[in-house]
């Protein structure tokens, strides 16, 4: 409401009235299932995750190393040329601290989500992921981080094979 408008005309419906048959609604539960073919680039990337490695593709026409890997370069519109391993360390480019879960319920321990650029790949080449071992006070843009991997037996070829990225320790590579 505002200074001028103190109330809207009409009657506000409660959620009980909405679900209790006072309003005519119809429900539907679509059955939509997909199994995307990952193709060349994503398949290799996911396989390498099981080995605890991050792989990229190099474009020889612009010399960029693209991560995650792609079979074509979006800048040059040419096929990329070779597979290149990159490091499991990187730099935080931006982040948010999420205090709500997917149902918009307040959570006690916030989730740190952000984009990091990966060492060994070109500028702005990286991944969106979780950060851990940080607090709202200590996490910063520009912070150096390192991947914390799941144990090998638990990896399934998904980006969550990395649990989160923690701050790089002094002297660590």
């Amino acid at each position: 409401m505002s200074e001028r408008i103190k109330h809207w005309p009409g009657k506000r419906l409660s959620s009980k009235e909405l679900t209790g048959g006072k309003v005519t609604t119809t429900k539907t539960d679509p059955r939509v299932k997909y199994a995307w073919a990952c193709g060349e680039a994503i398949s290799r990337f996911l396989e390498e995750l099981k080995n605890g490695k991050l792989i990229a593709r190099k474009c020889n026409s612009c010399d960029q190393i693209l991560f995650p890997p792609r079979m074509f370069c979006e800048d040059c519109f040419t096929p990329t040329n070779e597979w290149v391993y990159v490091k499991d360390t990187g730099t935080i480019e931006t982040f948010s601290i999420s205090y709500l879960d997917t149902d918009a319920r307040r959570i006690k321990d916030p989730i740190y989500v952000g984009v990091l650029s990966v060492d060994g790949a070109s500028e702005k080449q990286g991944i969106m992921h979780y950060f851990g071992g940080v607090t709202p006070k200590t996490i910063k843009i520009g912070m150096k981080v390192k991947a914390v991997w799941k144990p090998k037996k638990d990896r399934e070829g998904a980006i969550t094979d990395i649990r989160y990225w923690r701050p790089l320790r002094r002297g660590e590579k």
């Binding site: 539907t28 939509v32 199994a35 995307w36 060349e40 519109f77």
Partner: protein
Amino acid sequence: MKKNVAVVGIGNTAFRPKTDEYSWKELMYEAASRAYNDAGLNPRKEIDSFITCAEDYWEGFSIYDEFVPDQIGAALRSCCTVCGDGIQGLALAYMQIMSGAVDTVAVESHSKISDLLTYSDVLAFALDPIYNRPIGGHPHYLAGMEMRRFLRDSKCTEKDCARVVVKNKTNALKNPSSAYGTKLTTDDVKSSPEVFSPLRQLDVSNLVDGSIVMVLASAKRAKEICDNPVWITGIGWSSDTPWIENRDWGRAEYAEEASKMAYKMAGIKNPSSDIDFAEMDDKFSYKELQHIQAAKLCRKGEAGKRLRKGHYDFEGRLPVNVSGGSLGCGNLIEASGLHRAMEVALQLRGHAGRHQIKKVVKRGLALSWRSLPTATGGAVVMEV
């Protein structure tokens, strides 16, 4: 002939029931690369605008347009998605050029339908939620209903529909992109199982993956870059009422309206003699005959008679679907219309290879339908 907008580049992947070796992006990249190479244009600098025709539920992404730019060379360029058939995408490209906003446009459409595990459920989800969806079942029964009414009203027979299947699947044997070319007899079709009576299994086209890109240019630009422009001289599109109960089941009125619009623009008075050949939507066998009738490529009630006389054969008077159509090449979902249009352009260029029509062709029609449960179609007339 109106020389305003020309097709200057064509590219496609092969059409296959499954393409596990490619992600959907890699599939689109292949078709785009071929089209830009054919046009001799660098998409990062020399193509002004990009249009993709796709629908979220087929893709399995919401807000699918955001997943498009990179694989067609459109990152940080003018790019948008048409949630519709490929010919509707061509119509938008045509208007962008005619408005003077851009000189070159790439139109992409594809099917990666093998990624969708619940095809019939998505079809059912396209039905009216209150009045139609509770009926349940596989919505292809709508095609059975339409076929029955069309056969009654049109003097066409089930055997005529079988003839369409035989013709198109035979034609597809000459098209290296096709997936379902084969030699059949009408008896084979008529003895295939009834699926949605009177529709039989072989009356229904099979789904395929594939991508198609066409590059369009203004007259000025086309003359600079292209030795063999194919001119788009007429384009139209139309939708019937969404109330399936209110449609005229014997006719494809959307196709009547769409083709009428395209003919008017192209200045065509007598389609059955002015059009040299056509690519007509044939996702179900009877649809080809219904669409021939709707686009006035024959006199009322004569589609079956002319088919029997061989008018629509490869070497007939007005060849229809020499590419093999959807029955022979496979059903490319939203890309089917762009496939029809692409085949017309290839024929007019004389680049159709083994399925090039023997006589000289100067003017062709492509007609699309968005398939069940829609009553939406597009039409495009192209000339050289």
